[in-house]
Amino acid sequence: MTETSLETRALSRNFGALRAVREIDFKLGVGARHALIGPNGAGKTTFINLLTGALAPTQGRVLLAGRDITDKVQAERVKLGIARTFQINRLFRGLSVLENVCISVAERIGAAPSMVCPVGWRTDVIDESLHILEALKLLDHAGYRVSELPYGRQRLVELAITIGLRPEVLLLDEPAAGVPSAESHIILDAIERLPEHIAVLIIEHDMEVVFRFAKRVTVMVSGAVFAEGTPREIEASPEVRAVYLGQAARG
Protein backbone atom coordinates (compact mmCIF):
# COMPACT_ATOMS: atom_id res chain seq x y z
CA MET A 1 0.00 0.00 0.00
CA THR A 2 1.28 3.44 -0.88
CA GLU A 3 1.65 6.39 1.44
CA THR A 4 -1.54 8.17 2.44
CA SER A 5 -2.04 11.72 1.26
CA LEU A 6 -5.53 12.71 2.33
CA GLU A 7 -7.45 10.86 5.01
CA THR A 8 -10.76 11.25 6.80
CA ARG A 9 -11.75 9.66 10.09
CA ALA A 10 -15.42 9.22 10.91
CA LEU A 11 -16.20 12.37 8.95
CA SER A 12 -19.84 13.42 9.24
CA ARG A 13 -21.97 16.36 8.26
CA ASN A 14 -25.62 16.91 9.10
CA PHE A 15 -27.95 19.45 7.55
CA GLY A 16 -30.60 19.62 10.24
CA ALA A 17 -32.02 16.12 10.45
CA LEU A 18 -30.44 15.08 7.15
CA ARG A 19 -27.23 13.12 7.62
CA ALA A 20 -25.64 14.07 4.31
CA VAL A 21 -22.28 12.49 5.10
CA ARG A 22 -21.97 9.88 7.85
CA GLU A 23 -18.83 8.57 9.47
CA ILE A 24 -16.71 8.26 6.39
CA ASP A 25 -13.29 6.68 6.82
CA PHE A 26 -11.47 7.33 3.62
CA LYS A 27 -7.87 7.21 2.43
CA LEU A 28 -6.42 8.75 -0.71
CA GLY A 29 -2.90 7.55 -1.52
CA VAL A 30 -0.12 9.76 -2.85
CA GLY A 31 -0.48 9.83 -6.62
CA ALA A 32 -3.77 7.95 -6.40
CA ARG A 33 -6.31 7.84 -9.20
CA HIS A 34 -9.45 7.36 -7.22
CA ALA A 35 -13.07 7.66 -8.29
CA LEU A 36 -16.03 8.46 -6.07
CA ILE A 37 -19.32 7.25 -7.44
CA GLY A 38 -22.84 6.97 -6.14
CA PRO A 39 -26.40 7.86 -7.00
CA ASN A 40 -27.57 11.48 -6.97
CA GLY A 41 -27.92 12.81 -3.45
CA ALA A 42 -25.43 10.31 -2.04
CA GLY A 43 -23.43 13.17 -0.50
CA LYS A 44 -20.46 13.15 -2.87
CA THR A 45 -20.26 16.92 -3.36
CA THR A 46 -20.85 17.50 0.36
CA PHE A 47 -17.94 15.16 1.03
CA ILE A 48 -15.74 17.19 -1.36
CA ASN A 49 -16.83 20.39 0.37
CA LEU A 50 -15.76 18.90 3.69
CA LEU A 51 -12.37 18.01 2.24
CA THR A 52 -11.75 21.51 0.86
CA GLY A 53 -12.97 23.25 3.99
CA ALA A 54 -15.87 24.99 2.24
CA LEU A 55 -18.05 23.22 4.82
CA ALA A 56 -17.18 22.43 8.43
CA PRO A 57 -17.85 18.85 9.55
CA THR A 58 -20.34 18.07 12.28
CA GLN A 59 -17.95 15.38 13.47
CA GLY A 60 -14.74 13.66 12.52
CA ARG A 61 -11.32 14.72 11.29
CA VAL A 62 -9.59 15.47 8.00
CA LEU A 63 -5.87 14.73 7.76
CA LEU A 64 -3.38 15.70 5.09
CA ALA A 65 -0.15 13.67 5.10
CA GLY A 66 -0.91 12.64 8.66
CA ARG A 67 -1.48 16.21 9.85
CA ASP A 68 -4.86 17.23 11.24
CA ILE A 69 -6.28 20.02 9.06
CA THR A 70 -9.88 19.89 10.26
CA ASP A 71 -9.68 23.39 11.76
CA LYS A 72 -8.02 24.99 8.74
CA VAL A 73 -10.18 27.22 6.58
CA GLN A 74 -10.40 26.77 2.84
CA ALA A 75 -7.72 29.32 1.93
CA GLU A 76 -5.22 27.63 4.26
CA ARG A 77 -5.98 24.19 2.83
CA VAL A 78 -5.37 25.51 -0.68
CA LYS A 79 -1.94 26.67 0.47
CA LEU A 80 -1.33 23.16 1.82
CA GLY A 81 -2.11 21.74 -1.60
CA ILE A 82 -5.78 20.80 -1.76
CA ALA A 83 -7.45 22.15 -4.88
CA ARG A 84 -10.74 21.45 -6.55
CA THR A 85 -12.79 22.01 -9.66
CA PHE A 86 -16.52 22.63 -9.58
CA GLN A 87 -19.35 20.61 -11.01
CA ILE A 88 -20.71 23.79 -12.57
CA ASN A 89 -18.12 26.17 -14.02
CA ARG A 90 -17.00 28.87 -11.63
CA LEU A 91 -14.81 31.06 -13.77
CA PHE A 92 -13.99 34.73 -14.13
CA ARG A 93 -16.23 34.95 -17.17
CA GLY A 94 -15.51 38.54 -18.13
CA LEU A 95 -11.72 38.07 -18.11
CA SER A 96 -9.38 36.48 -20.62
CA VAL A 97 -8.41 32.82 -20.31
CA LEU A 98 -4.86 33.87 -19.53
CA GLU A 99 -5.97 36.22 -16.78
CA ASN A 100 -8.11 33.48 -15.23
CA VAL A 101 -5.01 31.37 -14.76
CA CYS A 102 -2.88 34.36 -13.72
CA ILE A 103 -5.21 35.08 -10.80
CA SER A 104 -4.73 31.59 -9.47
CA VAL A 105 -0.95 31.56 -10.01
CA ALA A 106 -0.63 35.00 -8.41
CA GLU A 107 -2.48 33.74 -5.33
CA ARG A 108 -0.25 30.70 -5.05
CA ILE A 109 3.10 32.44 -5.29
CA GLY A 110 1.97 35.26 -3.03
CA ALA A 111 2.00 38.02 -5.66
CA ALA A 112 -1.68 38.83 -5.21
CA PRO A 113 -1.49 41.13 -2.14
CA SER A 114 0.91 43.46 -3.96
CA MET A 115 -0.65 46.88 -4.56
CA VAL A 116 2.10 48.82 -6.23
CA CYS A 117 3.80 46.98 -9.08
CA PRO A 118 1.51 46.42 -12.08
CA VAL A 119 0.33 42.97 -13.12
CA GLY A 120 2.33 43.36 -16.32
CA TRP A 121 5.62 43.42 -14.41
CA ARG A 122 4.99 40.02 -12.88
CA THR A 123 6.23 38.14 -15.93
CA ASP A 124 6.88 35.13 -13.68
CA VAL A 125 3.12 34.83 -13.15
CA ILE A 126 2.32 35.36 -16.82
CA ASP A 127 4.98 32.91 -18.02
CA GLU A 128 3.83 30.16 -15.73
CA SER A 129 0.22 30.72 -16.76
CA LEU A 130 1.17 30.49 -20.43
CA HIS A 131 2.97 27.21 -19.75
CA ILE A 132 -0.11 25.75 -18.08
CA LEU A 133 -2.26 26.80 -21.03
CA GLU A 134 0.24 25.27 -23.40
CA ALA A 135 0.19 21.95 -21.55
CA LEU A 136 -3.60 21.92 -21.78
CA LYS A 137 -3.53 22.95 -25.43
CA LEU A 138 -5.42 26.11 -24.58
CA LEU A 139 -2.78 28.51 -25.80
CA ASP A 140 -4.74 29.36 -28.94
CA HIS A 141 -7.52 30.60 -26.71
CA ALA A 142 -5.39 32.53 -24.21
CA GLY A 143 -6.68 35.90 -25.36
CA TYR A 144 -10.35 34.99 -25.52
CA ARG A 145 -12.81 35.96 -22.87
CA VAL A 146 -13.99 32.87 -21.02
CA SER A 147 -17.59 33.70 -21.88
CA GLU A 148 -16.68 33.48 -25.59
CA LEU A 149 -15.44 29.88 -25.33
CA PRO A 150 -17.50 26.74 -25.96
CA TYR A 151 -18.45 24.90 -22.78
CA GLY A 152 -15.90 22.11 -23.23
CA ARG A 153 -13.03 24.59 -23.36
CA GLN A 154 -14.44 26.39 -20.34
CA ARG A 155 -14.20 23.11 -18.41
CA LEU A 156 -10.55 23.03 -19.42
CA VAL A 157 -10.03 26.54 -18.03
CA GLU A 158 -11.55 25.26 -14.80
CA LEU A 159 -8.81 22.63 -14.75
CA ALA A 160 -6.10 25.15 -15.74
CA ILE A 161 -6.94 27.40 -12.80
CA THR A 162 -6.61 24.47 -10.44
CA ILE A 163 -3.29 23.36 -11.92
CA GLY A 164 -2.04 26.91 -11.33
CA LEU A 165 -2.30 26.14 -7.62
CA ARG A 166 0.17 23.23 -7.97
CA PRO A 167 -1.95 20.93 -5.85
CA GLU A 168 -0.87 17.76 -4.07
CA VAL A 169 -4.46 16.65 -3.93
CA LEU A 170 -6.86 17.43 -6.75
CA LEU A 171 -10.60 17.00 -6.31
CA LEU A 172 -12.48 16.91 -9.60
CA ASP A 173 -16.23 17.27 -9.29
CA GLU A 174 -17.66 15.81 -12.48
CA PRO A 175 -15.04 17.40 -14.74
CA ALA A 176 -16.79 16.41 -17.95
CA ALA A 177 -20.32 17.27 -16.83
CA GLY A 178 -22.28 19.17 -19.43
CA VAL A 179 -19.66 18.70 -22.11
CA PRO A 180 -20.89 17.27 -25.40
CA SER A 181 -19.48 13.73 -25.79
CA ALA A 182 -17.59 14.80 -28.90
CA GLU A 183 -15.55 17.19 -26.77
CA SER A 184 -15.24 15.23 -23.52
CA HIS A 185 -12.07 13.49 -24.69
CA ILE A 186 -10.24 16.84 -24.49
CA ILE A 187 -10.85 16.93 -20.76
CA LEU A 188 -10.21 13.27 -20.12
CA ASP A 189 -6.92 13.47 -22.04
CA ALA A 190 -5.91 16.46 -19.95
CA ILE A 191 -6.73 14.62 -16.73
CA GLU A 192 -4.71 11.62 -17.84
CA ARG A 193 -1.72 13.85 -18.47
CA LEU A 194 -1.75 15.30 -14.94
CA PRO A 195 1.59 14.87 -13.10
CA GLU A 196 1.74 11.45 -11.47
CA HIS A 197 2.52 12.59 -7.96
CA ILE A 198 -0.80 14.44 -7.66
CA ALA A 199 -3.46 12.47 -5.82
CA VAL A 200 -6.65 12.77 -7.85
CA LEU A 201 -10.14 12.11 -6.57
CA ILE A 202 -12.74 12.29 -9.29
CA ILE A 203 -16.51 12.32 -8.92
CA GLU A 204 -17.99 10.95 -12.09
CA HIS A 205 -21.24 9.48 -13.32
CA ASP A 206 -19.92 8.15 -16.59
CA MET A 207 -18.84 4.58 -15.81
CA GLU A 208 -16.68 4.40 -18.90
CA VAL A 209 -14.64 7.33 -17.62
CA VAL A 210 -14.41 5.79 -14.16
CA PHE A 211 -13.17 2.47 -15.40
CA ARG A 212 -10.73 4.04 -17.82
CA PHE A 213 -9.25 6.44 -15.32
CA ALA A 214 -9.49 5.06 -11.78
CA LYS A 215 -7.29 2.52 -10.05
CA ARG A 216 -9.64 2.49 -7.06
CA VAL A 217 -13.31 3.22 -6.69
CA THR A 218 -15.38 4.19 -3.67
CA VAL A 219 -19.15 3.88 -3.84
CA MET A 220 -21.20 6.23 -1.67
CA VAL A 221 -24.85 5.61 -0.90
CA SER A 222 -27.00 7.76 1.41
CA GLY A 223 -24.03 9.56 2.88
CA ALA A 224 -21.99 6.48 3.78
CA VAL A 225 -19.33 4.39 2.08
CA PHE A 226 -21.10 1.43 0.56
CA ALA A 227 -18.18 -0.33 -1.06
CA GLU A 228 -14.58 0.24 -2.02
CA GLY A 229 -12.25 -1.67 -4.30
CA THR A 230 -10.62 -1.89 -7.68
CA PRO A 231 -12.83 -1.00 -10.65
CA ARG A 232 -13.03 -4.72 -11.49
CA GLU A 233 -14.21 -5.65 -7.99
CA ILE A 234 -16.77 -2.86 -7.98
CA GLU A 235 -18.05 -3.83 -11.39
CA ALA A 236 -18.36 -7.45 -10.27
CA SER A 237 -20.07 -6.73 -6.95
CA PRO A 238 -23.75 -7.66 -7.14
CA GLU A 239 -24.66 -5.26 -4.30
CA VAL A 240 -23.13 -2.30 -6.12
CA ARG A 241 -24.87 -3.32 -9.29
CA ALA A 242 -28.13 -3.42 -7.40
CA VAL A 243 -27.90 0.04 -5.86
CA TYR A 244 -26.03 1.91 -8.47
CA LEU A 245 -25.05 0.36 -11.74
CA GLY A 246 -28.41 -1.31 -12.10
CA GLN A 247 -30.12 1.95 -11.41
CA ALA A 248 -27.98 3.74 -13.95
CA ALA A 249 -28.68 1.05 -16.51
CA ARG A 250 -32.39 1.37 -15.91
CA GLY A 251 -32.29 5.16 -15.95
Partner: protein, 343 residues
Protein backbone atom coordinates in the same frame (compact mmCIF):
# COMPACT_ATOMS: atom_id res chain seq x y z
CA UNK B 1 1.99 24.01 -48.38
CA UNK B 2 3.13 23.20 -44.89
CA UNK B 3 -0.04 22.40 -42.99
CA UNK B 4 1.41 22.03 -39.49
CA UNK B 5 3.40 25.27 -39.52
CA UNK B 6 0.34 27.37 -40.04
CA UNK B 7 -1.55 26.81 -36.75
CA UNK B 8 1.58 27.11 -34.61
CA UNK B 9 2.37 30.46 -36.16
CA UNK B 10 -1.16 31.61 -35.44
CA UNK B 11 -1.10 30.30 -31.88
CA UNK B 12 2.24 31.96 -31.19
CA UNK B 13 0.73 35.22 -32.32
CA UNK B 14 -2.45 34.88 -30.29
CA UNK B 15 -0.82 33.90 -27.01
CA UNK B 16 1.68 36.68 -27.54
CA UNK B 17 -1.22 39.07 -27.95
CA UNK B 18 -2.95 37.76 -24.85
CA UNK B 19 0.22 38.13 -22.81
CA UNK B 20 0.90 41.57 -24.27
CA UNK B 21 -2.52 42.77 -23.25
CA UNK B 22 -1.60 41.96 -19.65
CA UNK B 23 1.97 43.18 -19.89
CA UNK B 24 1.09 46.57 -21.36
CA UNK B 25 -2.28 47.17 -19.73
CA UNK B 26 -0.98 49.54 -17.06
CA UNK B 27 0.94 51.75 -19.48
CA UNK B 28 -0.28 55.30 -19.97
CA UNK B 29 -2.05 55.92 -23.26
CA UNK B 30 -2.05 59.28 -25.00
CA UNK B 31 -5.80 59.74 -24.54
CA UNK B 32 -5.43 59.48 -20.79
CA UNK B 33 -4.10 63.03 -20.93
CA UNK B 34 -7.39 64.30 -22.35
CA UNK B 35 -9.35 64.71 -19.11
CA UNK B 36 -6.47 66.60 -17.54
CA UNK B 37 -5.98 68.83 -20.57
CA UNK B 38 -9.70 69.46 -20.57
CA UNK B 39 -9.59 70.41 -16.88
CA UNK B 40 -6.79 72.88 -17.50
CA UNK B 41 -8.63 74.18 -20.58
CA UNK B 42 -11.72 74.66 -18.42
CA UNK B 43 -9.69 76.74 -15.98
CA UNK B 44 -8.66 79.23 -18.64
CA UNK B 45 -11.75 79.14 -20.83
CA UNK B 46 -14.47 79.39 -18.19
CA UNK B 47 -13.12 81.43 -15.26
CA UNK B 48 -16.67 82.32 -14.20
CA UNK B 49 -17.59 78.66 -13.74
CA UNK B 50 -14.68 77.62 -11.53
CA UNK B 51 -16.93 77.15 -8.50
CA UNK B 52 -19.05 74.76 -10.54
CA UNK B 53 -15.84 73.22 -11.86
CA UNK B 54 -14.58 72.49 -8.36
CA UNK B 55 -17.91 70.84 -7.50
CA UNK B 56 -17.55 68.74 -10.63
CA UNK B 57 -14.02 67.65 -9.76
CA UNK B 58 -15.16 66.67 -6.27
CA UNK B 59 -18.06 64.68 -7.70
CA UNK B 60 -15.62 62.87 -9.98
CA UNK B 61 -13.32 62.09 -7.07
CA UNK B 62 -16.23 60.74 -5.04
CA UNK B 63 -17.37 58.59 -7.96
CA UNK B 64 -13.82 57.35 -8.44
CA UNK B 65 -13.74 56.14 -4.84
CA UNK B 66 -17.00 54.30 -5.42
CA UNK B 67 -15.65 52.80 -8.63
CA UNK B 68 -12.87 51.10 -6.68
CA UNK B 69 -15.36 49.39 -4.36
CA UNK B 70 -18.30 48.86 -6.72
CA UNK B 71 -16.76 48.72 -10.16
CA UNK B 72 -13.71 46.67 -9.32
CA UNK B 73 -14.47 44.64 -6.20
CA UNK B 74 -18.22 44.41 -6.85
CA UNK B 75 -19.17 45.75 -3.40
CA UNK B 76 -22.74 46.93 -3.89
CA UNK B 77 -23.31 49.90 -1.63
CA UNK B 78 -25.89 52.60 -1.21
CA UNK B 79 -24.08 54.19 1.69
CA UNK B 80 -20.93 55.71 0.30
CA UNK B 81 -22.02 59.11 1.59
CA UNK B 82 -21.04 57.82 5.05
CA UNK B 83 -17.40 58.29 4.15
CA UNK B 84 -17.96 61.52 2.23
CA UNK B 85 -19.73 62.85 5.30
CA UNK B 86 -17.08 61.52 7.67
CA UNK B 87 -14.44 63.42 5.71
CA UNK B 88 -16.56 66.57 5.46
CA UNK B 89 -17.38 66.61 9.18
CA UNK B 90 -13.75 65.94 10.11
CA UNK B 91 -12.66 69.05 8.22
CA UNK B 92 -15.72 71.00 9.41
CA UNK B 93 -15.42 70.17 13.10
CA UNK B 94 -11.68 70.81 13.21
CA UNK B 95 -12.04 74.18 11.47
CA UNK B 96 -15.22 75.37 13.17
CA UNK B 97 -13.92 74.71 16.66
CA UNK B 98 -10.60 76.33 15.76
CA UNK B 99 -8.55 73.17 16.28
CA UNK B 100 -7.00 72.78 12.85
CA UNK B 101 -7.49 74.80 9.65
CA UNK B 102 -4.49 73.89 7.48
CA UNK B 103 -6.19 72.41 4.37
CA UNK B 104 -3.82 69.67 3.18
CA UNK B 105 -3.26 68.04 6.57
CA UNK B 106 -6.99 68.41 7.19
CA UNK B 107 -7.60 66.31 4.10
CA UNK B 108 -5.21 63.68 5.42
CA UNK B 109 -7.15 63.65 8.68
CA UNK B 110 -10.42 63.45 6.74
CA UNK B 111 -9.08 60.46 4.84
CA UNK B 112 -7.95 58.79 8.07
CA UNK B 113 -11.29 59.25 9.81
CA UNK B 114 -13.17 57.90 6.80
CA UNK B 115 -10.73 54.98 6.55
CA UNK B 116 -11.23 54.04 10.20
CA UNK B 117 -15.01 54.14 9.75
CA UNK B 118 -14.68 52.18 6.51
CA UNK B 119 -12.52 49.57 8.20
CA UNK B 120 -14.83 49.16 11.18
CA UNK B 121 -18.08 49.10 9.18
CA UNK B 122 -16.54 47.01 6.39
CA UNK B 123 -15.36 44.44 8.90
CA UNK B 124 -18.95 43.88 9.98
CA UNK B 125 -20.96 44.64 6.82
CA UNK B 126 -18.83 42.84 4.24
CA UNK B 127 -19.86 39.50 5.70
CA UNK B 128 -22.99 40.03 3.63
CA UNK B 129 -23.54 40.54 -0.07
CA UNK B 130 -26.05 41.80 -2.59
CA UNK B 131 -29.31 43.22 -1.38
CA UNK B 132 -28.50 42.66 2.30
CA UNK B 133 -25.29 44.60 1.91
CA UNK B 134 -27.11 47.34 0.03
CA UNK B 135 -29.64 47.75 2.85
CA UNK B 136 -27.03 47.57 5.60
CA UNK B 137 -24.80 50.23 4.02
CA UNK B 138 -27.87 52.41 3.60
CA UNK B 139 -28.87 51.93 7.25
CA UNK B 140 -25.35 52.57 8.46
CA UNK B 141 -25.25 55.91 6.65
CA UNK B 142 -28.68 56.84 7.98
CA UNK B 143 -27.42 56.09 11.50
CA UNK B 144 -24.39 58.32 10.99
CA UNK B 145 -26.59 61.10 9.67
CA UNK B 146 -28.92 60.84 12.63
CA UNK B 147 -25.89 60.79 14.91
CA UNK B 148 -24.61 64.00 13.33
CA UNK B 149 -28.07 65.49 13.75
CA UNK B 150 -28.29 64.57 17.41
CA UNK B 151 -24.77 65.77 18.25
CA UNK B 152 -26.17 69.24 17.73
CA UNK B 153 -23.76 70.91 20.15
CA UNK B 154 -20.75 69.96 18.05
CA UNK B 155 -22.08 69.55 14.53
CA UNK B 156 -24.70 72.29 14.49
CA UNK B 157 -27.31 69.61 13.80
CA UNK B 158 -29.66 70.48 10.98
CA UNK B 159 -28.10 73.92 10.47
CA UNK B 160 -24.63 72.53 9.99
CA UNK B 161 -21.40 74.40 10.48
CA UNK B 162 -21.30 77.63 8.45
CA UNK B 163 -18.42 79.94 7.54
CA UNK B 164 -15.58 77.53 8.18
CA UNK B 165 -12.25 79.30 8.49
CA UNK B 166 -9.88 77.48 6.13
CA UNK B 167 -6.22 78.53 6.08
CA UNK B 168 -4.61 79.32 2.71
CA UNK B 169 -3.23 76.38 0.75
CA UNK B 170 0.51 76.06 1.41
CA UNK B 171 0.14 79.26 3.41
CA UNK B 172 -0.18 81.29 0.21
CA UNK B 173 -3.28 80.60 -1.86
CA UNK B 174 -6.46 81.81 -0.18
CA UNK B 175 -9.92 80.38 -0.73
CA UNK B 176 -11.86 83.31 -2.15
CA UNK B 177 -15.61 82.65 -2.27
CA UNK B 178 -16.05 84.98 -5.26
CA UNK B 179 -13.14 83.81 -7.39
CA UNK B 180 -12.76 80.06 -7.11
CA UNK B 181 -9.35 79.76 -8.76
CA UNK B 182 -7.68 78.27 -5.72
CA UNK B 183 -10.60 75.94 -5.00
CA UNK B 184 -10.50 74.64 -8.56
CA UNK B 185 -6.78 74.01 -8.85
CA UNK B 186 -6.60 72.60 -5.34
CA UNK B 187 -9.43 70.14 -6.10
CA UNK B 188 -7.78 69.25 -9.39
CA UNK B 189 -4.50 68.47 -7.63
CA UNK B 190 -6.28 66.29 -5.06
CA UNK B 191 -8.14 64.47 -7.83
CA UNK B 192 -4.93 63.85 -9.75
CA UNK B 193 -3.13 62.39 -6.72
CA UNK B 194 -6.07 60.16 -5.78
CA UNK B 195 -6.56 59.11 -9.39
CA UNK B 196 -2.94 57.97 -9.64
CA UNK B 197 -3.36 55.97 -6.44
CA UNK B 198 -6.53 54.28 -7.70
CA UNK B 199 -5.01 53.66 -11.12
CA UNK B 200 -1.95 52.00 -9.60
CA UNK B 201 -4.17 49.88 -7.39
CA UNK B 202 -6.47 48.57 -10.09
CA UNK B 203 -3.61 47.53 -12.35
CA UNK B 204 -1.77 45.76 -9.52
CA UNK B 205 -2.16 42.08 -8.66
CA UNK B 206 -4.28 43.27 -5.72
CA UNK B 207 -6.62 45.00 -8.16
CA UNK B 208 -6.68 41.89 -10.31
CA UNK B 209 -7.75 39.83 -7.33
CA UNK B 210 -10.53 42.34 -6.61
CA UNK B 211 -11.76 41.83 -10.16
CA UNK B 212 -11.62 38.11 -9.49
CA UNK B 213 -13.80 38.55 -6.41
CA UNK B 214 -16.29 40.54 -8.48
CA UNK B 215 -16.33 37.96 -11.26
CA UNK B 216 -16.58 34.84 -9.11
CA UNK B 217 -16.51 34.84 -5.34
CA UNK B 218 -16.57 31.06 -4.86
CA UNK B 219 -13.71 30.56 -7.25
CA UNK B 220 -11.61 33.12 -5.38
CA UNK B 221 -12.19 31.15 -2.18
CA UNK B 222 -11.18 28.01 -4.05
CA UNK B 223 -7.87 29.48 -5.23
CA UNK B 224 -7.02 30.26 -1.62
CA UNK B 225 -7.61 34.00 -1.69
CA UNK B 226 -8.31 35.67 1.67
CA UNK B 227 -11.42 37.21 0.15
CA UNK B 228 -12.81 39.08 3.12
CA UNK B 229 -9.49 40.65 4.02
CA UNK B 230 -9.11 41.88 0.44
CA UNK B 231 -12.64 43.30 0.40
CA UNK B 232 -12.24 45.09 3.73
CA UNK B 233 -8.91 46.55 2.61
CA UNK B 234 -10.43 47.73 -0.67
CA UNK B 235 -13.43 49.20 1.15
CA UNK B 236 -11.12 51.03 3.56
CA UNK B 237 -9.08 52.59 0.77
CA UNK B 238 -12.25 53.51 -1.09
CA UNK B 239 -13.61 55.08 2.10
CA UNK B 240 -10.43 57.10 2.57
CA UNK B 241 -10.72 58.57 -0.92
CA UNK B 242 -14.40 59.31 -0.41
CA UNK B 243 -13.31 61.03 2.82
CA UNK B 244 -10.93 63.23 0.86
CA UNK B 245 -13.75 64.14 -1.51
CA UNK B 246 -15.92 65.07 1.48
CA UNK B 247 -13.12 67.06 3.07
CA UNK B 248 -12.57 68.97 -0.16
CA UNK B 249 -16.28 69.68 -0.41
CA UNK B 250 -16.28 71.17 3.09
CA UNK B 251 -13.22 73.29 2.38
CA UNK B 252 -14.37 74.54 -1.01
CA UNK B 253 -17.83 75.49 0.23
CA UNK B 254 -16.62 76.58 3.69
CA UNK B 255 -19.57 74.83 5.30
CA UNK B 256 -20.77 71.39 6.30
CA UNK B 257 -24.32 70.25 6.78
CA UNK B 258 -26.29 67.03 7.01
CA UNK B 259 -26.61 66.81 3.23
CA UNK B 260 -23.05 65.41 3.26
CA UNK B 261 -24.48 62.22 4.76
CA UNK B 262 -27.67 62.13 2.72
CA UNK B 263 -29.06 59.08 0.96
CA UNK B 264 -29.46 61.46 -1.97
CA UNK B 265 -25.70 61.83 -2.14
CA UNK B 266 -25.10 58.05 -2.07
CA UNK B 267 -27.65 57.59 -4.82
CA UNK B 268 -26.34 60.45 -6.95
CA UNK B 269 -22.79 59.13 -6.96
CA UNK B 270 -24.09 55.69 -7.91
CA UNK B 271 -26.13 57.13 -10.78
CA UNK B 272 -23.20 59.18 -11.94
CA UNK B 273 -20.91 56.15 -12.00
CA UNK B 274 -23.43 53.94 -13.77
CA UNK B 275 -23.98 56.71 -16.30
CA UNK B 276 -20.29 56.93 -17.11
CA UNK B 277 -19.56 53.20 -16.79
CA UNK B 278 -18.28 51.42 -13.71
CA UNK B 279 -15.13 49.36 -13.40
CA UNK B 280 -13.25 51.36 -15.99
CA UNK B 281 -11.51 54.24 -14.16
CA UNK B 282 -12.68 56.95 -16.53
CA UNK B 283 -16.36 56.21 -16.04
CA UNK B 284 -16.28 58.56 -13.06
CA UNK B 285 -15.01 61.37 -15.28
CA UNK B 286 -17.51 60.89 -18.08
CA UNK B 287 -20.40 60.29 -15.69
CA UNK B 288 -19.39 63.29 -13.59
CA UNK B 289 -19.28 65.66 -16.54
CA UNK B 290 -22.55 64.42 -18.03
CA UNK B 291 -24.43 64.39 -14.74
CA UNK B 292 -23.20 67.74 -13.50
CA UNK B 293 -23.73 69.39 -16.88
CA UNK B 294 -27.25 68.01 -17.04
CA UNK B 295 -28.00 69.12 -13.51
CA UNK B 296 -26.54 72.55 -14.11
CA UNK B 297 -27.96 73.37 -17.51
CA UNK B 298 -31.14 71.32 -17.65
CA UNK B 299 -32.07 72.70 -14.23
CA UNK B 300 -31.71 76.16 -15.64
CA UNK B 301 -33.95 75.49 -18.61
CA UNK B 302 -36.51 73.33 -16.81
CA UNK B 303 -36.13 74.17 -13.12
CA UNK B 304 -39.02 71.97 -12.04
CA UNK B 305 -38.67 68.97 -14.28
CA UNK B 306 -34.98 68.57 -15.09
CA UNK B 307 -34.79 65.25 -13.29
CA UNK B 308 -37.22 63.88 -15.84
CA UNK B 309 -34.53 64.28 -18.49
CA UNK B 310 -32.01 62.57 -16.25
CA UNK B 311 -34.47 59.75 -15.58
CA UNK B 312 -35.01 59.20 -19.28
CA UNK B 313 -31.28 59.11 -19.88
CA UNK B 314 -30.86 56.53 -17.11
CA UNK B 315 -33.60 54.35 -18.55
CA UNK B 316 -31.85 54.47 -21.91
CA UNK B 317 -28.55 53.55 -20.31
CA UNK B 318 -30.09 50.68 -18.37
CA UNK B 319 -31.80 49.35 -21.49
CA UNK B 320 -29.20 49.83 -24.16
CA UNK B 321 -25.85 50.49 -22.57
CA UNK B 322 -25.38 48.42 -19.44
CA UNK B 323 -21.77 49.48 -19.21
CA UNK B 324 -22.55 53.18 -19.33
CA UNK B 325 -21.50 55.78 -21.83
CA UNK B 326 -17.93 54.53 -21.97
CA UNK B 327 -19.12 50.96 -22.52
CA UNK B 328 -21.30 52.16 -25.37
CA UNK B 329 -18.36 54.04 -26.88
CA UNK B 330 -16.26 50.92 -26.54
CA UNK B 331 -18.81 48.86 -28.41
CA UNK B 332 -19.21 51.38 -31.23
CA UNK B 333 -15.45 51.68 -31.57
CA UNK B 334 -15.10 47.89 -31.84
CA UNK B 335 -17.86 47.68 -34.40
CA UNK B 336 -16.17 50.41 -36.42
CA UNK B 337 -12.85 48.58 -36.33
CA UNK B 338 -14.39 45.25 -37.26
CA UNK B 339 -16.25 46.99 -40.09
CA UNK B 340 -13.05 48.53 -41.36
CA UNK B 341 -11.14 45.27 -41.09
CA UNK B 342 -13.97 43.53 -42.96
CA UNK B 343 -14.12 45.93 -45.88
Amino acid sequence: MNVTACPTAVSARIDQMAANVLITRHRFRWWELLPWLASIGFYFALPDYLGFGAELLIAILFALSLDLALGYAGIITLGHAAFFGAGAYTVGLLAFHGIWTEPITSLVLAASTAAVIGLASGFVLLRTQGLTLLMLTLCFTALLQEGANMAHDYTGGFDGLPSLPIAPVLGVFEFNPLYAHTQYLYSLAALLVCFLVVRTLVYSPFGQSLTGIRENLLRMHAVGSPVRRRLVLCYTISAAIAGIAGGLWAQVNAYVNLSALDLDRSATVLILLILGGYGRLYGAFVGGVVYMALEHFLARIYPTAWQLGLGLLLVMIALFARNGILGLGDRLWRRYRVGRAGS
